[in-house]
Symmetry: C2
Subunit: 438 residues, 2 copies
């Protein structure tokens, strides 16, 4: 028979079981952390109608979308979890309770050019809070506090949540009479860390025709330095007095105040006025999160405040604030750098190795362990003892129970610690106790 | 602004949060049950290369597949989890440990005509064991024993796992010199429960030109009745003596013997020789699972033994046995019939309702609860007390902690049981104790 090569597409992550165990362990911790803050689960379809999903898209995003026809329908695969959320909230407005706090963990699809560490199918882990008409600024502090708790629970080293408030730059641009160029300027400043100050300077002057003085004012502003409180003070002292700027000042003060109320240490957050987020729908606070040891990989968790989540679907005013972890990429980097510490690399806590024809005895024993919440497998194949042990070793199962005729006759079990090699003669209750403890 | 209707496509399940909580709760129990038997997690891509995924497809399946082009690639969405497993095992043969036991829980896609209770995007929960060259018959009993434990843990009423062994009918057909028509006959018998004996009789005689005597022999055989042991005895006593039949007899005896060793009660399994499974790749044991109170919806969990999992990708002989829960449909039926009992309908165990400007106090309290593993939210918006309570009620949060100036000054908390309406003055440690217990 002609064989087909069993290949997986480039840009699609497919892990071996030992890695998948780690992946799931971390996803589980993220989920638990989101639920600890009372966020509700949501699971929107992967396929949506193209007119719904692309209602507001355009430019780069639209080019990357997987879209296709099935029958008469133009369909596409979701490229993020925010647009489906907007659709969901608009469609189910009357059945939801506001503020609506939801998390969603799922795959999204973008046909980017594949390159090392970039994926076309990847998990996003999103949380958003959506208000009906209003949404308190305290939520702008709760978001990073959730990320703080979540990342701490992942045990992946030092990280810092950077944030700014878009109203500050908007107010500054207004005072410089640059409102019309603000999208271009924001997008350029967003690249500051990547391309450097000199290039940003050139682009703003040559491409967007800003004056040197304007550029200097802007760059001096976004480079404001010092402790968090010093930065706040400098922001407050700026000679910009329009309402949008004053709102921004007020909001960033409140955000810092509540971040501290949420017990987020000053070491783990930082005002960074160069953060603008390219996407134009953010209207207030914006976030990016960096791993201190892997700053160069860019933000691993980003988001912000938007005034109007679902304006393409409904007249209802739905302000929100949300944040998203690009998980597949994060996992890839953590795994590559071997900085993932999981509690266990195996699913089974114990494997029963029958050395007898009396499989029934072993199966009953397995049922006994399982009924006591111990993940247990039985080696059911004919094989040499050496090969059975090798199976257990390869799967990194911490304990083996060896059951031979002697054990059955004399009513004991031989428990082998697969890490140390030690063996013990124990009753099944004693084995259970040992497995439960460790 | 022109609005787009925020619609979800027909045939795609999208649940409200209270339902999604139930959905996730059951998925979590299925996952825990699979892991209790030591199955390893796998997460293959949703998008695969069309030539890989359709290597063996054809007929009905291929028509239902979502396929499309992106650049030069012909792609499609997975329509089950078995073909991706075959690809994965063939591609990673040297890195896997056999027998390879994996579970996968994920969405698959089939463009069926949408109808009530049928979905185009649905979850499958699969377990399979793959051997290298050989795989013990004990695995044919382990599969239904896992399903037995899993369904019991779901608490969804009575169910019975039906099974047969294809070698029996294959042997019988051989003795009747009907080998060449066996695929047609199997497909017809598979419809017995749906279309009735009379129609099956007619189809076999008129369409497939069997003699009346042949049809009678076959129908008498598949209708063998009695207790499990009586059925086994009748199967053994049949005057069919070819090797394939004798192998089938031996295997079905062993399957029953080990099912009992796995402590599966006789009430929960049943030999049913009309079960053939339409798909032609099964070669031995085949399973279907029925909810006793909802027999008419058909099998909710099916599978079987196959000799050669990955023959389209590799020369390696990889026998396996597996079973799959069509979960979205199952959930739909359970939910429609209101027979889902979940431990809790809310994510949060407690909500803190600030009656003071001192939000910081409430946030610290929330952190205290969360650090003690209690899912906690804080109502952060400005609202009347009545509306805050209504929010908690709608989300079915079992406890509310009310924090006003008095509480802060006198250092106590007011705990409200949202079900009974009772209120208690307690210290925060006492509240924690109450929340942990319940």
């Amino acid at each position: 028979m002609q064989k087909v090569e069993p290949k997986t597409l480039p840009g699609f992550m497919e892990l071996l079981p030992q890695e998948q165990i780690k992946f799931n362990d971390i996803i589980q911790r993220i989920k638990a952390s989101f639920e600890k803050f009372g966020f509700l689960p949501l699971d929107t379809p992967i396929i949506e109608s193209a007119d719904v999903l692309l209602a507001k898209a355009g430019g780069e995003t639209e080019k990357q979308v997987y879209n296709f026809n099935k029958g008469e329908n133009e369909l596409c695969l979701r490229f993020d979890l925010t647009v489906p959320l907007a659709k969901f909230v608009a469609a189910n407005f009357n059945q939801l309770t506001f503020p609506f706090k939801r998390y969603q963990i799922g795959k999204v699809f973008r046909g980017e050019r594949p390159q090392k560490g970039r994926f076309r199918e990847f998990y996003q882990c999103d949380i958003d809070v959506i208000g009906n008409e209003n949404l308190s600024i305290v939520n702008d502090a709760e978001m990073p506090s959730i990320i703080y708790q979540t990342f701490k629970s992942l045990n992946i080293g030092d990280f810092v949540i950077n944030f700014s408030n878009r109203k500050l730059l908007k107010g500054l641009f207004s005072s410089l009479e640059l409102e019309e160029k603000s999208a271009d300027i924001l997008r350029t400043i967003d690249k500051l860390e990547k391309i450097g100050e000199e290039k940003v300077f050139l682009i703003l002057i040559e491409d967007f025709k800003l004056s040197k003085k304007q550029v200097k004012t802007i760059l001096d502003f976004v480079k404001i330095s010092g402790t968090t409180d010093e930065k706040l003070e400098k922001i407050k002292q700026m000679p910009v007095k329009n309402q949008i700027y004053l709102d921004g000042v007020n909001e960033i003060f409140e955000t810092v105040k509540y971040l501290r109320s949420f017990n987020v240490p000053d070491d783990n957050f930082e005002i960074n006025l160069t953060i603008t987020r390219g996407l134009d729908y953010y209207t207030g606070t914006v976030y990016e999160t960096f791993l201190k040891d892997y700053r160069s990989i860019g933000s691993v968790c980003s988001g912000g405040r938007y005034d109007n989540l679902a304006e393409f679907y409904t007249d209802k005013k739905l302000p929100g604030v949300g944040i998203s972890i690009g998980f597949t990429r994060l996992f890839y980097i953590l795994n590559e750098n071997e900085i993932l510490k999981t509690e266990s690399n195996s699913i089974s806590k114990v494997i029963i190795l029958p050395m007898t024809e009396n499989i029934a005895y072993c199966l009953s024993l397995a049922t006994f362990f399982r009924n006591n919440e111990i993940n247990t497998e039985v080696f059911l194949e004919q094989a040499k003892f050496k090969n059975k042990l090798s199976y257990a070793n390869k799967l990194q199962i911490p304990y083996a129970v060896i059951v031979g005729e002697d054990e059955i006759k004399q009513n004991y079990l031989t428990l082998k610690n697969m890490t140390t090699g030690e063996q013990f003669k124990l009753s099944k209750e004693e084995v259970l106790k040992k497995l439960t403890k460790n």
